[in-house]
């Protein structure tokens, strides 16, 4: 049985230059989404 072949290690992300920046972007995105949902809930509450 063969060992899983080697994968490319530590390649940079396709944009923003570092994975850390992409992770921060995802967290900011989540905060914005929750913020929009919160506004949505408050705007249309009974």
């Amino acid at each position: 049985m063969t060992e899983p072949q080697r994968t490319v290690l530590d390649e940079p992300p396709p944009f923003l230059g570092s994975w850390k920046r992409i992770y921060v972007l995802v967290v900011i995105y989540l905060a914005c989404v929750i913020g929009v949902f919160y506004w949505f809930t408050k705007s249309f509450a009974p």
Partner: protein
């Protein structure tokens, strides 16, 4: 279902299976069969991750959940993007560099064979039960809607999955998932468009959103903390993050998706696609449920959504009285809805009172038939109101959503059976061809097992509920042992083993006090890490003391 619907449904199923088999051709080694030769691009992995998580019941019951309880279920997913970021930074590079086929193989690298075996057994039990459920729950609903015998529905759904999963391996599973997610989104958009088009001409989209809000259906965020409330922003962010960490980081049915990546970067992008798309997608599915509720303010819905149960109710002597109450409440509710649109004083109280009367009439009808019809709400809307052809497409989507979840599960169960049990403990040194054959046999075994389990689980509604909770009883322990493996350098194999047992005991104890299952994973994980660390420190301290002269 008319002729065109049947043609669309069977055409889509035939295309999907043929496409899966075509993409899975040439899986002639274990590396190809289990890891797709590590050739998968990020978008295929990302969509496959989403398709594996979204079973048929996700679509059927999520829309119904918004219809009945509002959109607060979306909070369940708030922790998922955070978990994807953490896993991209930790589990993805660790698993890739360890060159493993399964997550549990890594535990032997880090700890020992007994810890690997313990977690493997936990996975096989919890995921094995899950695979049976993923097949039985939608089969019950679809057999009623299509008028098919239950066993026939199981056989068609399970048989097609076993066919392309056994022959094509994970390549077939992943590429079929990509097609399924695409069509699932298309069908959801169509269902939404039809719901909006069914509103009366004097009710705008803005009015519909206002009415859904007035009815309390747009409660997407609850900021109040309540230990016993399953869905609020805190249980979603904290409990949901732990659940997503456990599910995507330690469950082989998900780990195997991103182990097929061309590179660490591609696997990370696959997980991050899930992070970005999952919450909006669930919001959209729930919003469809809220819009279906508004449509049914103006279009009279059936008193009972489950067609067989409705026939039973109609045959009852109490039917006429209940029907009359239901009609009256529906008319009152519609009048109150129009008064809400006109911003008249007291309209909301009137609406609430009419809704309470309508719910009471429905509850009395459901009591006569002794059923719950929640899972039939969305499908009742689809089969009665969507245009011909689109009905067939949506039913096919429900079919294939079940199939994508099951295919991922039996594929991972087979991989773990061969790698962590068969090759590790039974036949240790054989040829790659031998293990490829064993993988196909194991896939066939788990597929048949899921079909048999699903066939026998039908009569036990309460049992199904109980088994559904089983997943959350085990994930905390599994997450804890991987946290120890990744981050606690001092942790020994004995510490990890005892930690898992202590964590499981803590989860089962917590389950006695609260049904808010999102917290089980937090409790389990924290106890595993604390006990694992303490035992490791004590054990190595005792060892040092004994070895000193």
């Amino acid at each position: 279902m008319r002729t065109l619907d049947w043609v669309v449904m069977f055409g889509w199923l035939a295309f999907l299976v043929s496409y899966g088999l075509w993409r899975g051709r040439g899986s002639s080694s274990t590396q190809e069969f289990m890891l797709a030769g590590k050739t998968m691009p990020w978008y295929a992995m990302g969509l496959s991750i989403m398709a594996t998580q979204a079973s048929a019941i996700t679509f059927i019951s999520t829309t119904a959940q918004a219809y009945v309880d509002g959109m607060r279920f979306v909070q369940f997913y708030f922790g998922l993007p955070l978990a994807m970021v953490i896993l991209s930074a930790t589990a993805v590079p660790i698993f890739h560099r360890a060159k493993v086929y399964t997550a549990y193989e890594y535990l032997e690298h880090r700890f020992d064979a007994k810890t690997r075996l313990l977690v493997t057994i936990i996975f096989l039990i919890s995921r094995g039960l899950g695979a049976g459920l993923a097949l039985s729950a939608p089969a019950i609903v679809l057999s009623v809607i299509l008028g098919w015998p239950f066993q026939t529905t199981i056989l068609i759904m399970g048989g097609l999955v076993v066919l392309y999963t056994t022959l094509g391996g994970i390549k077939a599973v992943t590429w079929a998932d990509v097609q399924q997610m695409t069509v699932i989104l298309l069908a959801l958009i169509m269902a939404f468009a039809v719901a909006i088009s069914m509103l009366p001409s004097d009710v705008s989209f803005g009015d519909a959103v206002r009415l859904a809000g007035a009815a309390g259906k747009l409660n997407a965020v609850t900021t109040t903390f309540d230990w016993n409330d399953r869905y609020n922003i805190w249980s979603g962010l904290i409990g949901g993050m732990f659940l997503a960490l456990a599910y995507f980081g330690t469950d082989q049915s998900q780990v195997q998706r991103y182990l097929t990546g061309k590179s660490i970067g591609q696997s990370r992008l696959g997980l991050l696609l899930n992070a970005m798309a999952k919450v909006p997608m669930q919001f959209f599915i729930l919003f469809i449920g809220a819009m279906v509720f508004v449509v049914f303010l103006f279009v009279r819905p059936p008193m009972v959504f489950q067609p067989v149960a409705m026939e039973q109710v109609q045959a009852s002597p109490q039917y006429a009285a209940i029907e009359s109450r239901y009609e009256q409440a529906f008319d009152q509710r519609q009048a109150a809805a129009r008064r809400i649109m006109a911003s008249e004083a007291g309209a909301l109280q009137e609406f609430r009172a009419a809704q309470t009367n309508l719910d009471a009439a429905r509850a009395d009808a459901l009591k006569l038939a002794d059923v719950s019809d929640t899972n039939y709400i969305f499908l009742s809307f689809v089969t009665h109101y969507l245009p011909v052809g689109i009905v067939g497409l949506v039913i096919a989507v429900i079919f294939t959503a079940a199939m994508s979840a099951i295919s991922g599960e039996i594929n991972s169960l087979a991989t773990v059976t061969v790698i962590d049990i068969y090759k590790r403990h039974i036949v240790k040194d054989s040829s790659d061809t031998h293990y490829l054959g064993a993988s196909r046999v194991a896939t066939l075994f788990w597929g048949i097992y899921a079909m048999v389990f699903a066939s026998t689980a039908k009569g036990f509604g309460a049992l199904i509920e109980a088994v559904n909770q089983v997943g959350s009883l085990f994930y905390g322990g599994m997450l804890g042992v991987f946290v120890l493996a990744f981050f606690v350098k001092r942790c020994t194999a004995t510490g990890a083993f005892i930690g898992v047992l202590a964590g499981e005991a803590a989860i089962f104890t917590t389950a006695q006090f609260t049904s808010a299952f999102l917290w089980y994973n937090v409790v389990g994980c924290v106890v595993v890490v604390a006990v694992g660390w303490l035992v490791s420190v004590a054990y190595s301290g005792a060892k040092t003391a004994l070895s000193e002269p």
